[in-house]
């Protein structure tokens, strides 16, 4: 039996540890395509989170009735229903936003984050945990898209959320709002994130080795360290 983690962990793990963009590397298509500005990133992430939470909830509720052979088909129909609802509501109420996001709203259906969470989590866990997991992943997605969108918007068009932050003397880097800018920014952000994690890991390892030395532990092998979890 797998050890049950606390409900809070269920939510917070999606924020960073299993962040959909930086750790699971899922949902790259909307991530790269819509983050020309911070507001687009937020809108895309909110739409995705809505679909993610409701489809996870529903899938988790019906998980015991769905025969194994047709589970993917069932999940896709459920997800597609929520996506269509979001698309229609956005077209009716938020015309500008729906125009800016264009075909990427209907494409949430095939966003791997949603099917990924449905298959890996919601189909095996109870509704409460599934919703928390979906919310965590959604917020993680939101943070990533907002960060990416902000960086691209600041350098590419001198503004953030439409407010000018860089002086007129600063020539905007056009490449940042072109597709290439998305790849560059995402790559650099992932690189820095990994660098930070690596460094943290090394520090923990060294601290542990030092501690073992102090207490006079004889052998400090890789196995010993692995057991201590560093």
């Amino acid at each position: 039996m797998k050890k049950q983690v606390t409900l809070l962990r269920e939510f917070t793990k999606g924020l960073w540890e299993t962040n959909p963009v930086f750790k699971q590397i899922l949902g790259m298509c909307p991530t790269l395509a819509v983050t020309v500005s911070a507001i687009n990133g937020i809108a895309m992430a909110l739409a995705t989170t809505f679909v993610l939470v409701f489809s996870s909830l529903l899938i988790s509720i019906v998980r015991k009735w769905i025969p194994n052979q047709v589970r993917i088909a069932s999940y896709i129909v459920i997800i597609a229903t929520f996506v269509t609802i979001v698309d229609l509501v956005m077209k009716a109420q938020f015309v500008e936003l729906s125009k800016a996001l264009g075909p990427f709203i209907p494409l949430i259906v095939v966003n791997c984050i949603i099917l990924g969470r449905a298959e890996a989590f919601a189909s095996k866990n109870n509704p409460l945990r599934s919703v928390l997991d979906a919310l965590g992943n959604g917020v993680g997605f939101l943070i990533s898209l907002f960060a990416l969108g902000s960086i691209r918007e600041i350098i590419g068009s001198r503004t953030i959320l439409g407010y000018q932050v860089l002086p007129n003397g600063f020539e905007p880097w056009l490449i940042m709002i072109l597709p290439a800018g998305a790849f560059l920014t995402l790559g650099l952000m992932m690189g820095f994130a990994n660098m930070y994690i690596e460094r943290k890991k090394n520090l923990e390892r060294e601290a542990l080795i030092a501690q073992y030395r102090r207490v006079g532990k004889e052998e400090i092998t890789d196995e010993v360290l692995k057991e201590a979890g560093v």
């Binding site: 769905i66 025969p67 069932s74 597609a80 509501v89 109420q93 015309v95 072109l178």
Partner: protein, 188 residues
Amino acid sequence: MKQVTHIIATLTLIGVIAGGSLSLVNNWAAPKIAINQKAETERAIYLVHLDGKRYEEIKNAGFEVYKVFNEADSSVGYSLVYSGNGFQGKIKLMIGLTEDLNKTTSIEVLEQSETPGLGTKILEPPYKDQYKGLVTTPAIKLVKGVEPSNPYEVQSITGATISARAVVTIVNEGISKLRAVENKGASK
């Protein structure tokens, strides 16, 4: 057999529920979406005819075109929606034309996916304003490097010749199509 029934029943049930809930949402959203679209077209029609107060769609033209009337209910010309290929994708224009089709009143870009900062200059006044009162006979011509010397010439955009030329081509094509429909204006 029992399993097959279970599978079919599950999929049918999911399909019915999904379809049912979508039709409910659609019932609510469809009229709103229609209103939004209409408002948008209307806005664009009057953008190229500032004195327009009422418009009528010309049917059976094969493309979107509207006849625009002013306050006194006399015709001020046409608002023509026409699209063509730009640099990376389609460019969709709203073209304002006078009653005799020999002059443009102005143009408005409805949709485009040109290169930001270069091709998107077709949206900006220095280029766009050239279409205010531009003569359309014999045909609009794009000039590069030099100032336009004839009333039917448009100056190109440095670094975005393809986008600038695309707009000219779309306007010319739209006008000649409209002439054919309305049997008006100078023939070639």
